[in-house]
């Protein structure tokens, strides 16, 4: 376990430092947003894959994190409290939704609809705030136009020292690595193991004396905080937030990243997210064929041919051809 983690950290850092040497500046710019989205994919991969909560509207936490960052950064002219807000606001909302739903025994696809609906409520509300009168402090909400010129991230409590786009690349990459390693550690902690037990069988976990509702709530809040962080990074990267972060299609995109990469793994959502985003970006550039057609075909083929996702399929292949080595569960 420790050796594997060390390998992951070392490999991640090597990749992070090595890529700028071989790729163009523009690619680096794209990689930054891929990494931010990968953090978001991880949050859903955690909540859905390791505690069985079908959070169809995970995007609500991403969007809320992005808006909280934008509004706080504009008001305080410093990204330090803004980042705190971007973690706190989604966590609070998750606490509310989770308390409301888990303690009401709402499960399964019915919970999915509650979470998706929350996202759509924010989508409708934010979309309708284009009037000048909707202002929080110094930040106009902008409605469907979104909030332009969101301040970049700066060194803690030093607003003059803002991060350039290359610094943003390293920051986002390192944060992705930290989140990944942190989640790996979380999942081997007693809390993480009980959550996996809850995913496997709620009844059994309950009969063993665990309060299932609290564990689900805890996992849901952690996922929300991570999604909020991703939203803040996204807002700082593009210096823009818009209501599309709350839309159905964005919510579904995250679901697809996780399923495509492999539900129940942590590396899967990252790979699925980066791979699919790279394909989308590339298709948008070459303009040979409508991106929707290609993506649609990929999703259908993925479900029919690789029902568990890429990573578990590759693991299966690996184990088949390397039968002597003992693989250990989640990647």
């Amino acid at each position: 376990m420790i050796a594997k983690l060390a390998l992951a950290i070392f490999g991640g850092l090597a990749l992070l430092c090595g890529l700028p040497l071989v790729v163009e500046t523009y690619t680096l710019f794209n990689l930054t947003v891929f990494a931010a989205m990968a953090i978001f994919a991880l949050s859903l991969g955690l909540v859905w894959g390791f505690s069985g909560i079908l959070s169809l509207g995970q995007s609500v936490f991403f969007g809320l994190g992005a808006y909280a960052y934008a509004i706080a950064a504009i008001n305080f002219s410093d990204s330090t409290p803004a980042l705190v807000a971007a973690l706190a606001a989604p966590t609070t909302l998750a606490l509310l939704i989770g308390y409301f739903a888990f303690f009401g025994r709402v499960t399964d696809v019915y919970f999915g609809v509650i979470s998706l609906t929350t996202s759509l409520i924010l989508y409708s509300l934010v979309n309708s705030t284009s009037d000048q009168s909707f202002v929080i402090g110094k930040a106009p909400l902008g409605g469907y136009n979104g909030i332009p010129s969101v301040p970049p991230i700066n060194w803690p409590f030093m607003p003059e020292w803002t991060l350039g786009f290359e610094d943003m690349y390293y920051l986002t990459g390192v944060l992705l690595l930290i989140v990944y390693v942190g989640l790996r550690l979380l999942l081997v902690s007693p809390f993480g193991r009980i959550c996996i037990g809850v995913r496997e069988s709620e009844t059994r976990a309950e009969l063993l004396g665990y309060d299932v509702r609290k564990y689900k709530l805890g996992m849901f809040c952690i996922g929300a905080a991570i999604a909020g962080l991703a939203g803040a990074l996204f807002a700082a990267w593009g210096s823009f937030v818009g209501p599309d972060s709350f839309s159905v299609s964005f919510a579904a995109q995250a679901i697809i990243w996780v399923m495509f990469g492999g539900l129940g793994t942590l590396i899967g959502p990252i790979i699925g997210c980066v791979a699919l985003q790279a394909i989308t970006t590339w298709l948008g550039q070459v303009k040979i064929i409508d991106p929707n057609i290609v993506l649609g075909l990929i999703f259908i083929a993925a479900v029919l041919l690789l029902p568990q996702g890429i990573v578990p399929a590759l693991q299966g292949l690996y184990r088949r051809f390397m039968p002597r080595r003992q693989g250990s569960g989640a990647a």
Partner: protein, 288 residues
């Protein structure tokens, strides 16, 4: 009095259109446990089939009641055979596959038909109710919803297909063991849902127009209504659209459409909190 009448008509209309945009999805989810995320695109395809047929000179009613549902039935049968059939019992996988299908259909429609909105004029004029004018088409939509409810009820209750389909819904393995051709039932059910979506797409086309991304307007509302309705396809869809449609329309009248939409969503959340598996998860068990 006139105001009351107009309000009642608007509420009925909201309920009827919510039901029409939900019915196809409800049949497929309720009977097969498949969540068809390409449902909105089925409406879009039905809408395009209708508009193109009318523009080609086909009679409006033939286009609405025959061409649009038929095109969607064919599409539905192909989709069921190629994709859905392999995914029975895997609800979440069907979300991903049908989401892919939805992107594919949007892509194909944009490439072949362009990104523009197309439409046809509303077939009827309007009538006066006191000081207000109301389009006759509004009454037509309400009437159509009633007809669809009646036909679906009749089909599920009194035909041998309905009996076997309900049996399959209760317990597919048992129906299979008793000699019902479950695969065929599922294919027909999916086609039925597709036909309803095609009809709804055609009915909405004169009001909202149709373009490749039209489906995205419908899917969220339809999905939320179906889940709020719970496991029974017909009574669930009727009750949920009745409740949610009324809430959203009354709120819209006293405030704005945005608040009305939010009220619909909030009502759905509250409903699921009180009845964690939808309205018909608790009431009307054993119905249709």
């Amino acid at each position: 009095m006139e105001l009351f009448l107009i309000t009642a008509i608007h509420v009925l209309y909201a309920v009827a259109s919510l039901f029409l945009m939900t019915a196809g999805l409800a049949v497929i989810f309720g009977m097969m446990g498949v969540i068809n995320f390409a449902h909105g695109e089925f409406l879009m395809v039905g809408g395009f089939a209708f508009v193109l047929a009318v523009q080609a000179g086909i009679n409006t009613w033939v286009a609405m009641f025959l061409v649009a549902p038929l095109v969607c039935v064919i599409l539905g049968l192909v989709v069921e055979r190629l994709i859905i059939r392999h995914l029975y019992g895997r609800t979440v996988d069907t979300i991903l596959a049908t989401w892919g299908l939805s992107l594919l259909l949007i892509g194909i429609a944009s490439v072949t038909l362009g990104y523009d909105q197309r439409g046809v004029g509303q077939p009827f004029g309007s009538i006066a109710i006191g000081a207000y004018r109301e389009g006759v088409y509004t009454f037509f939509v309400i009437g159509m919803a009633a007809v669809v409810v009646a036909l679906l009820y009749g089909l599920l209750r009194w035909t041998s297909f309905g009996l076997v389909a309900r049996g399959t819904m209760e317990n597919a393995a048992m129906a299979w063991a008793l000699g019902a051709d479950v695969k065929r039932i599922y294919a027909l059910t999916f086609a039925l849902g597709a036909a309803l979506s095609g009809l709804a797409g055609a009915i909405f086309a004169p009001i909202a127009g149709v373009m490749p991304v039209s489906g995205t307007i419908y899917i969220a509302k339809a999905f939320i209504t179906v889940i709020s309705g719970g496991p029974l396809p017909l009574s669930g869809a009727v009750l949920a659209s009745g409740l949610l449609g009324t809430v959203s329309e009354l709120t819209t009248i006293v405030s704005t459409p945005v608040v009305g939409h939010v009220a619909l969503l909030a009502a759905a959340i509250l409903l699921l909190r009180i009845l964690p598996s939808g309205i018909t998860g608790r009431f009307f068990r054993g119905g249709v």
